[in-house]
Symmetry: C2
Subunit: 334 residues, 2 copies
DNA sequence: TTGAAAGCGCTAACAT
DNA sequence: ATGTTAGCGCTTTCAA
């Protein structure tokens, strides 16, 4: 049977059981005001004994702080949002904050519904995250009565946003390849209408020169495979390194190279982007790749919303957080 | 600048602006009691105009229902919990329920902390999910003042649990292979100390006989690869079909088979388990696999917690929800 | 049909 | 050092 009518203990119960008034009980429990150490201890013991737990709703009603925040995400908790959510959680939980997770599934109606519900619940802040940086929130998010922070999404000018530094991440990858003695580096990446793909490609060209070749496609393994077939099918000079826009693409690339009996990294080095462990660890050879440090990004966003919810100001703007390079086997020196 | 002091409108504001008392305003807004249609409309219009939204905290305090539930999960939102959470969300959102997501990261201290916080917040119910069915909640979950439902986890006898029907799923896979004309079927799966692995293996043997071979290992792609090398390295009759305990294993199996120049499915058919799209779709050939219908499982759990939170009884016990078979290219008739 | 008043559980002035 | 009281925003008797 599911237990039901275990009536919850209130501060009244504590006060009565300890033989004090409710305000004394409150003071004793919270360490506010002046309370005789003895009474304080007694009250606390009693509270513990009868299993008293303060009603967060009542507290929130009074303090106007619910100690909860909402995360609104456009996907059904994909692999990008998840690490971020974990990071957010990590910094907030210790502060006694809870997290409402709201998946909008890219449905504006749902997004609006969630937003309204969050506001009704008096959340102390909202974090908006997306699966692509250039995806705008499907609802009006500007003049809200609560602070908002964007993670993996760029909010308006005067807002606080955290995004990975794609340019720096791409540079990291390309420079690593250069240091490994590679000179003919090709970039195989996702669709050109993704901001992240454009930024990475631009950064890659920044290092290698405007004529460095970029192959835009989609984010799939299949595209990686196809790109290699196309490149190695034709004539002309072949690359000695491939910088891929995602780990999935890299996986396709590696598979295709192996089908061509090219050995990695001795013939061709490969670097990926994402550090999606389940992919990067399992390629053969395992994949050197750029990590966007999404959990750290989540942590920062959590910290920011925490500060804002305490009404501390933080300067608006877009923070680009550094990526790191995870070196595995797919990219060695020549 | 982040907006702050947009004071929230209260029902007082509505009442004043509409020239009625707050109780009339309340009645008009909620359609309770007797209210003159005209006043009702006026009040509603005014509320809309000034942007009034009821304070969920105040409502909850009074009604003793917070219209929120918590999901406690042991992993950092892995790929198993996620689809479930999506299913839960799907059925609850339409009912105006919000979801607190609590990741315990397998830390009992965190689990306890989350549980207490949820209770303090007066959640209407708690869903406990895990990454493996035989993982018990790290805290006392029996005599709670709120209903609890287990999803992808088996609670105590008298509780409500939803798990995938692994036995049926395995049977689905094996029978599909038999129908495709395969007779020497091998089962390569995860660690034997996983309940799910044991159940699937038992069911596989139920169909094929006690002497059918099971290779326990781990859930990795690498293990799939290794298993194939081991089997095809030795002498003796080779299997003409492999039933894998996970899609990752299947991926390793397929890769290894291709390395041996065996063609799939003509030489060997492969069936996976999980329908983890990003893996199953990208294997070459694409993978026929068992889908545990996790989203549906989440939906059921959500529905259950909804009923329980309305104090409707539902019979305790473990519900095994049917798996489905997703047929792709890796398993054709001989 | 509408309004006044009590109270959900808690905190914080203020009075004792 | 402790108790009394008001009130957070809302719903809900009960009177008018």
């Amino acid at each position: 049977m599911v237990e039901k009518d275990i009536r919850r203990r209130t501060i009244h119960d504590v006060a009565r059981a300890a033989g004090v008034s409710i305000s004394t009980a409150s003071n004793a429990l919270n360490g506010t005001g002046r309370t005789n150490p003895e009474t304080r201890e007694r009250v606390r013991r009693v509270a513990e004994d009868i299993g008293f737990r303060p009603n967060a709703l009542a507290r929130g009603l009074l303090s106007k702080r619910s100690h909860a925040i909402g995360i609104i995400t456009n996907d059904t908790y994909g692999r990008l949002t998840l690490p971020m959510a974990a990071g957010v959680s990590e910094v907030l939980v210790e502060e006694g904050m809870s997290v409402f997770l709201c998946a909008t599934d890219n449905d504006p109606r749902l997004a609006k519904l969630h937003l309204e519900t969050l506001l009704d619940r008096q959340v102390d802040g909202i974090i908006f995250t997306a699966t692509r940086m250039d995806l705008k929130p499907p609802m009006e998010l500007s003049r809200l009565p609560v602070p908002i922070v964007y993670a993996f999404a760029e909010g308006p000018e005067d807002s606080v946003s955290f995004v990975p530094d794609d340019a720096q991440g791409a540079r990291l990858a390309v420079e690593h390849l250069l240091q490994a003695g590679r000179s003919r580096i090709l970039h195989v990446t996702g669709p050109e209408d993704y901001l992240a793909a454009r930024i990475r490609a631009a950064s890659y060209r920044d290092v290698l020169g405007e004529r460095a070749e970029v192959m835009f496609g989609d984010w799939s393994e299949e595209w990686g495979h196809e790109a290699i077939q196309r490149v190695f099918g034709g004539a002309g000079l072949k690359p000695d390194a491939i910088f891929c826009g995602s780990d999935e693409i890299a996986r396709g690339v590696i598979d295709a190279l192996r089908d061509l009996d090219l050995s990695i990294p001795s013939d061709i080095a490969v670097v990926g982007f994402d550090n999606w462990e389940v992919v990067a660890r399992q390629t053969r050879p395992s994949l050197t790749t750029v990590d966007m440090e999404l959990k750290e990004l989540g942590r920062q966003a959590g910290l920011a919303i925490l500060q804002l919810s305490k009404r501390e100001d933080i300067p608006p703007g877009i923070r680009r957080l550094p990526c790191s390079l995870v070196t595995r086997k797919s990219c060695g020196a020549i």
